[in-house]
């Protein structure tokens, strides 16, 4: 079997993936007050993983990231729904979000919001769904 010569794309990917993942997390965090958020952050995150799938083969990446992306998607939606229920425990309407300012050791005065938990759910759902779609299209078995 002929081994494809893909040394360039593999070398670039190894560096680029780190940058894309950092950018994805940055997009995710900034989404609270600025453009960004769980959806777009999740898409950027999964684009990094898709690049890995393209540069290396599916089996290798699967061995290193042994998660079922369908479960990731379900877990994401579950987290989002459960943060909605969080409001119900305090006798507020479903999906009520709250935030407050805290003095943290390194960050100083930081705003912590429950909406971030909801967004984590959204991001996981997007990552899970997009990768499930890509993998089921890409899998030719």
């Amino acid at each position: 079997m002929k081994v494809p010569n893909d040394i360039i794309i593999r070398s670039v990917t190894k560096v680029a993936v780190v940058i894309i993942l950092t950018f994805a997390i940055n997009l995710f965090i900034s989404g609270h007050h600025h453009p960004g958020g769980g959806f777009i952050g999740g898409l950027a995150f999964s684009s990094a993983l898709i690049l890995l799938f393209l540069a290396f083969d599916i089996e290798t990446v699967r061995k290193n990231i042994p998660v079922d992306f369908k479960v990731v998607a379900a877990l994401g939606v579950l987290i989002s729904v459960l943060t909605g229920i969080g409001g119900m425990i305090f006798n507020m309407p479903f999906l009520t979000q709250d935030f407050d300012y805290f003095e943290l050791p390194i960050f100083g005065k930081t705003e912590l919001a429950t909406a971030v938990l909801f967004d984590i759910g959204v991001a996981l759902a997007v990552i899970g769904t997009s990768l499930t779609i890509i993998l089921s299209i890409g899998d030719d078995r």
């Binding site: 479960v71 379900a74 877990l75 579950l78 729904v81 909605g84 119900m88 507020m92 479903f94 979000q97």
Partner: protein, 493 residues
């Protein structure tokens, strides 16, 4: 604020998600699915009590008051439908346990079933037309997968047709919503109703109303039903039963909601159109039901006749008509599930859906035969079964408002419905017994329980229709007086 309202939507979705995560254990999925649907039904019962005591219950999601946020509104109409949905869903699940097969169970049958229920319950509860679109999509995406799950040839052919038609109707729905938003500047049902009443329903708004009618007709199978017989007869019995019982009803619910709450100012255009479409639907559906000699086809055409009949009552815009439509809607959900499960059992036993290939089933399966007979009578509205009262009220409504032709067609087609179902009964259950216990393709073991429950329910609903009268009256009262709904949602004292 009443957080109970959201439970019928989030209980099924949480249960479904847990099942995706723990997909290995089928037993866990079965228990959890029954538990989820039963608790949804219990919530609906509590809500019905609260509504009859304190009026319409509202939940503004995230604390954002209407018309700015998305509101969930539980009025009597929607909550009754959620209760019936839960009952029908439990019966279809019990039927599925025995008949759906391990392969489909392993490929997310139960999660998809619960997501479907999530979408249906969401459509009933929402107080926002865009959210209605979203809930429609949740329901439709689950139904796309359910209809093609298993991947047999006939299913794939039906699912392409089904997906295409629904994608087009979703597209039109979005266009209609955009027009509506451009003209009124709001998406909340109550706020829409208020604004349309203020500015008057002019030609443009009526056009949007007709566009919405086309969209909901595609979903409900009113006139634009040509996709329905193929799609509903393709999937396994448990799935086609839940489709027949619920999916068209969501379209009917949307028609009633929009044309009784928002667009009721020009009934000589919109409601007359609904009436004409209903009449054509009943006639074409009845012709189809009489013409075919295939159980699946006969039953799916009966779904279409039912849709036409319910909307005949809706078209009258009268208290009698809508009372009848409500009674008939409840009856139709139960009895359509019942007749599909019965038909499916017959096909399961004989291995064929062609009527001329078997006969004499009643010798081996007397219970099945008699339950089929009861279901057939109930379907065509013979007293004292559940279809009777709805039929009386709808006919009364059409006569009171001068739609004599509509009432006449309704009565004529119910005779044709009776004939088409009796055709199955006479050909399939009477006559020379072809099959022996050895040559049967399957057993009725476990399948009789859900059928028995639904049969008991159609008898109970017929004999005890007085019992639910107060609730149905409350629902019609809210529907006939949009003010009650608007005040409750917008918080006007």
């Amino acid at each position: 604020m009443n957080n109970l309202i959201i439970l019928p939507i989030i209980i099924p979705i949480i249960a479904g998600l847990l099942m995706v995560i723990f997909k290995k254990s089928i037993k866990f999925q079965r228990i959890l699915s029954i538990f989820a649907i039963v608790s949804t039904g219990a919530v609906a019962v509590i809500l019905i009590n609260q509504i009859s005591k304190d009026g319409i219950q509202i939940l503004h999601l995230g604390g954002w008051k209407a018309p700015f946020g998305v509101s969930m509104v539980a009025d009597m109409f929607a909550t009754i439908l959620i209760l019936v949905t839960s009952i029908v869903a439990v019966c279809c699940l019990l039927f599925a346990f025995q008949s759906i097969g391990e392969k489909r169970e392993a490929y997310y049958f139960y999660p998809l079933f619960l997501f479907l229920i999530t979408g249906v319950n969401g459509s009933f509860m929402t107080g926002d037309i865009f959210n209605l679109f979203v809930c429609f999509e949740v329901m439709l995406v689950s139904s796309y997968v359910l209809i093609s799950l298993g991947g047999t040839k006939i299913q794939l052919r039906a699912s392409i047709q089904y997906i295409l038609i629904n994608v087009i109707s979703s597209f039109l729905f979005l266009v209609a919503i955009a027009f509506l938003y451009a003209m009124t500047g709001t998406l909340n049902f109550a706020h829409l109703a208020q604004r349309v009443a203020e500015v008057g329903q002019d030609g443009l708004l009526t056009t949007v109303a007709i566009l919405l009618l086309i969209v909901f007709s595609l979903k409900a199978g009113l006139f634009l039903f040509y996709w329905l017989p193929g799609s509903y007869s393709a999937p396994p019995t448990a799935i086609s039963a839940i489709f027949a019982a619920l999916l068209t009803k969501v379209g009917i619910y949307a028609i009633i909601r929009t044309f009784y709450l928002i667009f009721y100012h020009e009934p000589q255009i919109t409601h007359l159109l609904i009436g004409i479409l209903a009449a054509i639907t009943m006639v074409l559906g009845a012709i189809g039901a009489v013409a075919y000699g295939d159980i699946n086809r006969i039953l799916t055409y009966n779904v279409i006749v039912g849709v036409g009949f319910i909307l005949a009552g809706v078209a009258t815009l009268s208290v009698e008509g809508i009372t009848g439509s409500l009674y008939y809607l409840i009856h139709d959900m139960i009895v359509k599930a019942l007749i599909f499960l019965l038909g499916g059992t017959v096909i399961h036993l004989t291995g064929t859906s062609k009527l001329n290939e078997f006969s004499g089933l009643i010798r081996l399966h007397p219970q099945l035969g008699w339950m089929f007979f009861i279901a057939a009578l109930s379907l065509s509205g013979i007293p004292p079964l559940s279809g009777f009262l709805g039929k009386v009220f709808i006919t009364e409504g059409t006569f009171v408002t001068g739609y004599f032709w509509l009432g006449g067609i309704g009565l004529l087609t119910s005779l044709m419905v009776l004939y088409s179902i009796m055709k199955i009964f006479i050909n399939g259950f009477w006559g020379y017994t072809v099959l022996t216990e050895e040559t049967e393709k399957g057993t009725t073991k476990g399948l009789m329980l859900p059928i028995g429950i639904l049969t008991a329910l159609t008898i109970a609903l017929g004999l005890g229709s007085e019992g639910i009268q107060t609730y149905v009256d409350l629902a019609t009262q809210t529907l006939m007086n949009p003010e009650i709904y608007i005040r409750a949602v917008l918080g006007i004292k």
